[in-house]
Amino acid sequence: MISKEEVKHIAKLARLGLSEKEIEKMREELSKILDYIEKLKEVDVSKVEPTSHSIKVENVMRADESLKSKVQNSKLVEMAPDTKDGFVKVKSILGR
């Protein structure tokens, strides 16, 4: 069973704001799912390579040249909730 502290730690890593009530509910649900996933421990994988991509593909390269964006930059910047002088604006990161 996953602990309440672990849930809090994971939520912080994921930048997910959860209330105390939600943390408890999440703990119960995650524990149940992780118990089910324990099943994977039955499999001997000691000599098995991992697969991250199912269909073999080669790396795709292109010339190192800047391409003109198909979408106007200003159109993308305008989608941000807060902008200033054509830049995306964010709240302070340091110095609480």
Binding site: A14, L30, I55, V57, K91
Partner: protein, 474 residues
């Protein structure tokens, strides 16, 4: 025959022979949507004006003598996780409730090149996470065959739209069964193509090594038409590959079809088993050689999937941070507050669960025990399929172990919802193509047959499906 009963090929014939106009065809579907969407809720957005103006334009070019392609003027519904320029794309999430697409997804562009008529955007589980379309932030879609039941998910809106004659065909996306299972639940045809056969550019990323876009149609023939139109290599998706079109010509008496014994075990509804076995029998009667095969790691595909899928999802969904676009909570003293509040309030329960599960599986100390182990099990699942495909041309089995269930029946217990995906997720882990097509009904509830093929053998499984469909409809 009513305009809203037509298949793609029938509607195309009608347009070509000028039996009706593209505008009349479009109006018939918009009327049907007005009549039925209130109770079924397949569409989140209907683009009435855009669709009508598109249809008018097509009529003009037809009367001007322009030659039309088979998809020209045919009304289509698009799952609301694929971008259509200038139209809202919500992914059924509060996070993107007001998001207007700045560009077209490649599949949408390809359909527009054929002069399709886009009716609107269909409902789904939030960010395509779920198996019933109940996880939509805007309310559940209902199964047209029984309004008290789910249409399956996550492309439940697309499947219900086609089943209820609100669109001639639709696009869905399939990460663990999200095209095939709703097609099965709604009694329509759905194809999950080989990984890389269709460009994912402009599909809202969920689990990038598993996601594929596929058609949902009324017939296997239509399914092939749409697949041909949307597939192919795209420079905007580096995992897309040129379809190595393989000649699918075969004689049914030379066909070897495998039946995985692990797919007919406890947990499979006996009524479904009966219908799927009857379908297999039919192939045998037609002359195909049926062989029982074994996929020894079949039972480990689902737990491996529920590590890999949330892991990739947690990475992909990190972008919804309240900074660049979409829902944002700007109150608070610093950037951390913006992140916490935006994600905490913008995402629904299942999305939060997957982000947590994925972050956990990828975090220091757990990566090897969970994520890496799951990727190794994935190799074993792949080896199983490689081995059986040395002996047989395709595999037959059920799509879902259960019939369309009641709305609310599983939603409170996430694990019970995950277990519904037992026959579909392994296909995504391995990247294979698979078709779901109707093989009968239990009462009024449809049941689907799944035909699984070798990589890039979509044409073959479609043709195998067609032979069955012909006996079924005749």
């Amino acid at each position: 025959m009513k305009l809203t009963d037509l298949t793609i090929s029938q509607a195309h014939e009608g347009l070509k022979k000028k039996e009706f106009s593209a505008l009349e065809l479009c109006r018939a579907y918009l009327d049907k949507i007005k009549e039925k969407n209130r109770e079924i809720f397949a569409f989140l957005t209907v683009n009435e004006e855009l669709a009508l103006s598109q249809a008018k334009k097509i009529d003009n070019s037809i009367s001007g003598g322009k030659k039309i392609s088979v998809l020209t003027g045919i009304p289509v519904a698009i799952k609301d996780n694929m971008l259509v320029e200038g139209v809202k794309c919500t992914a059924a999430s509060k996070m993107l409730e007001h998001f207007i697409d700045p560009y077209d997804a490649t599949v949408v562009k390809k359909l527009k090149d054929e002069d399709c008529v886009i009716l609107g955007k269909t409902n789904l589980d939030e960010f395509a996470m779920g198996s019933s379309t109940e996880n939509s932030a805007f309310g559940p879609t209902r199964n047209p065959h029984d309004l008290t039941r789910v249409p399956g998910g996550t492309s439940g809106g697309s499947a219900a739209a086609v089943a209820a004659d609100m669109a001639v065909y639709a696009l869905g996306s399939d990460t663990g069964g999200s095209v095939r299972q709703p097609a099965s639940f709604c009694g329509v045809v759905g194809l999950k193509p080989t990984y890389g056969a269709v460009s994912r550019y402009g599909l809202i990323a969920f689990a990038s090594s598993l996601d594929q876009i596929g058609p949902i149609t009324k017939t296997v023939e239509d399914c092939k038409t749409v697949f041909d139109a949307i597939s192919g290599k795209d420079e905007l998706d580096s995992t897309s590959v040129e379809s190595k079109i393989r000649n699918s010509k075969f004689e049914i008496r030379n066909l070897k079809l495998g039946v995985p014994k692990e797919y007919f075990v406890k947990g499979l509804d006996p009524e479904i088993e009966k219908l799927v076995k009857a379908a297999i029998k039919k192939y045998e009667e037609m002359g195909a050689k049926i062989e029982e095969v074994s996929l020894p790691h079949a039972e480990y595909a689902l737990p491996a999937y529920y590590i890999i899928n949330p892991s990739e999802a947690s990475a992909n969904l990190a972008r919804y941070d309240g900074i660049k676009y979409g829902f944002s909570v700007q109150e608070g003293k610093d950037l951390m507050d913006v992140y916490l509040k935006t994600k905490g309030e913008g995402f629904g329960e299942e999305v939060r669960r997957r982000i947590m599960l994925g972050t956990y599986s990828l975090s220091a100390g757990y990566y090897e025990a969970y994520y890496l182990r799951a990727q190794k099990v994935r190799t074993l699942v792949k080896n199983d399929f490689d081995k059986v495909f040395e002996k047989v041309d395709a595999l037959l089995g059920p799509v879902s172990p259960v019939l369309p269930f009641k709305i609310g029946e599983r939603i409170a217990d996430p694990l019970s919802m995950y277990l519904v995906d037992v026959y579909t997720v392994s296909i995504n882990l391995v990247g294979l193509p698979a078709l779901s097509l109707p093989c009968g009904k239990v009462g009024k509830l449809p049941v689907g047959l799944q035909i699984i093929g070798k990589p890039f053998e979509e044409n073959k499984i479609l043709d195998i499906g067609k032979t069955f469909e012909e006996t079924w409809t005749s």
